[in-house]
């Protein structure tokens, strides 16, 4: 028996090069018995799961970030190294390492196996995607390879039912047959050792693989177009355009449905509950508050659907290739493209995705500018103000003016992000030459419905959890502040004018008056720190609109009567820059491991927001929009 952890359960780890299908294998082995958490102290995702082998043995498996070597170069790869070597206090050293390899692309994986042998733990090589390899005429002598490597080798097809049966049987056999734990002798390989290992790997492959895979025909043909210097860029931009179009138009019917659902729920609460404070709390505080946020779930999921599909397809690495030089002009790394694209959905996954950038300075620049990308939480704020203040006219009979303003706000975010990174790179970090861009371009693969669905499910769960906790508690708080103390019986003004919210708003107003904000906006910005979209619901509550959210157009109607155009424009511009998201700041703090970077992000964004809103307000007033 291998030394076991816990109640007789074995603990395995999945290791492998990027794009080896490691996660697909993990999904196949563990199904929905998965747990996603973070390693303590870092935000590298720790994905673990459980399975039972044919002989009834319980096994826990942890899926480690992909790497070419244990020489860790990024936070992700450090986790892989530390878990494999048993250096992580919170994580037991795995009893068995399963090294996963793409059967059509074995060179680098075999070298990794040779390196992993030095760890001294029992090791097994899993030749994944063997079906694709066989289809392409590759013949692998598994027994000979196993003998040459000195480790068991087994084939698998992660994405097919029963494709992991042989693997499971082999695991049982291995656990029963007690391989020796050799003392660990791993050290960071030198150039000479790496070269020797790669030569040995190549020799083993020559001896054990017949007809090694040629370039994948489909990939070659697709790349001829998708990586074409001109056509490739055009297609990328069309793709991005379609993506944003989809986020706004496809999601609309579902959003209307959710919105009217919550309205009906609110009306039901209104009718069944006795009038008074409880009715107001349930209807205005809970239902309309949470509903105003959940309504954006379809947009967020549409955006993530595109990102997950492109990732699974293998296109994201190509996008980084196409954008590397363009982003380099602004001082960003090609790999920053994926995190920044995700930031259009939400800066939090975007910032977490910067872990693939190995250079620290590049990673910091990307983290600093990611919150400037127009995240989906800004959409409700923009939509509300634009529909209230911008006339729905056509420009040149073709584009709607409202759409153009929206586009301008997105462009404003993108260009300011490029500007900030340019300044960071060429003013503060001028002495740092540009770090290398080196990335494997995987073969294209049809995305699996199951893995995309699993990804979407995870995102939806995270979003709803946030809506149910952070946003919900903020809405309760704002309702409370706006309702107490209650107006005296002989009140002549609206009740909210007697509340704590009014007091806070008036206290903040002197600071925000120069940018054209009244006290109602000031008070809405406070809960807006929890999440940007909360400001919309908060404005609704503050303006005492009964039913809180009797469709956004009702709030908009009231706003149009109370604000000047200059104020509305200033608030729009404020939202491009303002660091109005406590969760983003918290993630920056966690990812950079320092309060300093969080403070810098907060300060620079707030400064930009204030200056830009100030300029917008005064220019608009000067032009007669005051």
């Amino acid at each position: 028996m291998i030394a076991t952890t816990g109640a007789g359960a074995c603990h395995f780890a999945l290791v492998g090069t990027p794009n080896s299908g490691k996660t697909a294998l993990f999904n196949a082995l563990t199904g929905n018995r998965q747990k996603v958490a973070n390693y303590p102290g870092v935000t590298v995702e720790r994905k673990s799961g459980a399975l039972v082998t044919p002989s009834g043995r319980k096994v826990t498996i942890v899926d480690l970030p992909g790497t070419y070597s244990l020489r860790a170069r990024s936070p992700d790869e450090e986790i892989t190294r530390d878990v494999v070597l048993g250096r992580l206090a919170a994580e037991a050293q795995p009893d068995l390492l399963l090294c996963v390899a793409d059967s059509t692309n074995l060179r680098l994986a075999i070298r990794l196996v040779l390196e992993l042998k030095h760890v001294g733990r029992p090791l097994m090589l899993v030749l994944n995607m063997i079906d694709i390899a066989n289809k392409r005429g590759v013949e692998i002598d598994v027994e000979k390879m196993s003998a040459a490597l000195g480790v068991p080798v087994v084939t698998a097809v992660a994405i097919r039912r029963g494709g992991t049966d042989a693997l499971l049987r082999q695991i049982d056999e291995l656990v029963a047959n007690r391989p020796e734990n050799v003392p660990h002798s791993w050290h960071s390989p030198t150039v000479g050792e790496l070269r020797a290992a790669q030569r040995e790997a190549d020799a083993i492959l020559r001896a054990t693989v017949r007809n090694p895979a040629k370039a994948d025909n489909l990939t070659t043909r697709l790349d001829a177009v998708l990586l074409h210097p001109v056509a490739g860029l055009v297609i990328l931009f069309v793709l991005l355009f379609v993506m944003f179009q989809a986020v706004f138009s496809w999601a609309q019917p579902l959003m209307n449905l959710i919105s009217s659902g919550f309205d009906a729920l609110g009306a039901l609460a209104h009718d069944t509950l006795p009038g008074g404070i409880l009715q107001s709390f349930i209807q205005n505080g809970v239902i309309s508050g949470v509903g105003s946020v959940i309504v954006f779930l379809p947009q967020i999921l549409t955006l993530f659907l595109f990102i997950l599909l492109l990732e699974d397809l293998g296109y994201m690495a190509r996008a980084a290739f196409l954008m590397d030089r363009i982003m380099g002009g602004a001082g960003l790394h090609g790999r920053a493209f994926i995190p920044l694209l995700s930031s259009f959905a939400c800066a939090i996954p975007g910032i977490m995705a910067t872990r693939v950038i190995d250079n620290k300075r590049d990673r910091l620049t990307t983290i600093l500018v990611a919150p400037l990308m127009t995240c989906s939480a800004r959409i409700p704020v923009y939509t509300l103000i634009i529909s209230a203040f911008v006339p729905a006219t056509k420009v040149w009979g073709l584009f709607s003016l409202q759409g153009l303003v929206m586009f301008g706000l997105y462009a404003g975010g993108i260009f300011s992000a490029l500007g900030v990174s340019f300044v960071a790179k060429y003013v503060f970090w001028r002495d740092q030459p540009s770090p290398p861009f080196m990335l494997e371009l995987p073969d294209y693969k049809l995305p699996r419905v199951k893995s995309v669905a699993l990804g979407l499910y995870t995102r939806a769960k995270a979003f709803l959890q946030r809506a149910g906790t952070t946003i919900f508690s903020m809405m309760v708080l704002i309702w409370f502040l706006a309702s107490f103390p209650q107006a005296p019986a002989n009140a002549t003004e609206p009740p909210i004018n007697y509340s704590v919210a009014a007091w806070i708003g008036h206290a903040m107003q002197p600071v925000l008056a120069p940018v054209g904000f009244n006290w109602q906006i000031s008070v809405a910005l406070v809960p807006g720190m929890a999440a940007r979209e909360v400001a919309v619901a908060a404005l609704g509550t503050v303006y005492s609109i009964e039913g809180g959210k009797q469709a956004a157009s009702a709030i908009g109607h009231v706003l149009a009567g109370k604000w000047s155009l200059a104020t509305a424009l200033a608030l729009l511009v404020w939202y491009i820059f303002a660091p109005q998201c406590a969760s983003t700041l918290a993630v920056i703090r966690r990812e950079t491991g320092s309060w300093k970077w969080m403070a810098i992000t907060f300060a620079y964004m707030l400064t930009l927001a204030y200056i830009a809103a100030f300029a917008t307000f005064h220019i608009a007033v000067a032009m007669g929009a005051g």
Partner: protein
């Protein structure tokens, strides 16, 4: 004697009118799309990558750039013909020309 240069090295016509190709190594970072050759050496010492020569060499090896491997330039970017997509045996790797200068090919 007429000397024609091609991307693989120098070609000339010998005395007995046979075309002989003398292979000379040149950096992969200068080659054009369509170039196909074999890696002669990794020489990271003289290059201005942000990485140390040692680290650049290790990273190149980890992506499969070792002596004897067959490489082919498949694609290049629009701006400054950079970066390049290189087929290394049966994998495709994207890198910038600056780093590809360290890979000598014939």
């Amino acid at each position: 004697m007429r000397i024609r240069r091609n991307t693989n090295g120098r070609e000339f016509v010998s005395r007995d009118s046979q075309v002989v190709t003398v292979k000379t190594s040149s950096p992969l970072g200068r080659a054009l799309p369509g170039f196909r050759g074999r890696i002669d050496a990794i020489q990271a010492a003289e290059h201005t990558s942000v990485l140390s020569a040692d680290e650049l060499e290790r990273r190149l090896i980890e992506l499969g750039f070792v002596e004897g491997a067959i490489v082919e330039i498949l694609h290049e970017g629009f701006f400054g013909r950079d970066p390049i997509a290189v087929r290394v045996d049966n994998a495709t790797v994207a890198l910038r020309r600056r780093e590809a200068m360290a890979v000598l090919v014939t």
